[in-house]
Amino acid sequence: MRRLLPHPLLTLTLVLVWLALVNSFSLGTLVMAVILGVVIPILTSPYWPGVPVLKKPLSLAFYCLLVFWDIVLANIAVAKIVLFRPRDRIRSAWVVIPLDVTSPEAISMLAGTITLTPGTVSAMLSADGRSLLVHCLDTDDPAAVCAEIKHRYERRLLEIFP
């Protein structure tokens, strides 16, 4: 079983993505979707040896909604800075975030979230994977940015990927 389906969740996702791409449902597309969903995880499993454990799928869905909402807010915030802030009064800063999350999946989700949300872009991970370098477009207080990211996103990711 482990050989045939190294990543059951990836298989499920691939099946759903294929059905959505074809945009119609028939037995033929379902068979094709299942074939892709089985073959692709087998071919790619050497590059993704660990199986991520999803403790709370519902919190993951909630997390996605939260991030969607924050993306909208982020756009408005960044648009305001771009349009109305005088160029020399944009106070950019580097922020270093010490990480509590350890699984690669959680770290990449956190980095992606940071890039998509208010005024921050994740730029680099430390070589031991324990802190994240974030560029902040405009901030007075880098420590507060770090605290907010840890509280708003990382705390939730820690619950989802223990």
Partner: protein, 132 residues
């Protein structure tokens, strides 16, 4: 009902184009390369998202079916935008920012593309399985 859907699609298109324009304007206006990275990663996400919403509403009005393609495009965009931004940031840092100018990592290793990861034998249990 069709009028209402038209208005929704039109509003989504207008909002989307405003954000797309602001994103592109930010690319021109912001002085520093790291700052310029902020404009396209965010403003454009909402810009493209708005166009996709408009497209979904329009096709629902025309054909009465919901299309999943737009949702897929949104999902792929959200997955790829941060990765691209990260690569651009790394390339920029390598060419223009010496590692001394970056803040310290706060751990015993440097930043990933300037320093080597710990050897497998040095890793303690509980450490990230595969740092970069």
């Amino acid at each position: 009902m069709t009028l209402f859907l038209d208005i929704v699609a039109g509003a989504a298109l207008i909002v989307a184009s405003i954000f797309g324009l602001v994103g592109s304007y930010g690319l021109v206006r912001l002085p520093d390369a790291m700052q310029r990275l902020h404009a396209p990663t965010k403003a454009t996400t909402l810009g493209v998202g708005g166009v996709l919403i408009a497209s979904m509403v329009y096709y629902y009005r025309q054909e009465g079916t919901l299309s999943f393609h737009e949702l897929m495009i949104t999902a792929f965009l959200i997955l790829t935008a941060p990765v691209t931004a990260n690569f651009i940031a790394k390339a920029h840092m390598h060419r223009n920012i010496p590692p001394e100018d970056l803040p310290p990592t706060g751990t015993d290793r440097g930043w990933a593309s300037f320093d080597d990861p710990p050897a497998i034998s040095e890793r303690t249990p509980g450490e990230p399985r595969d740092p970069i």
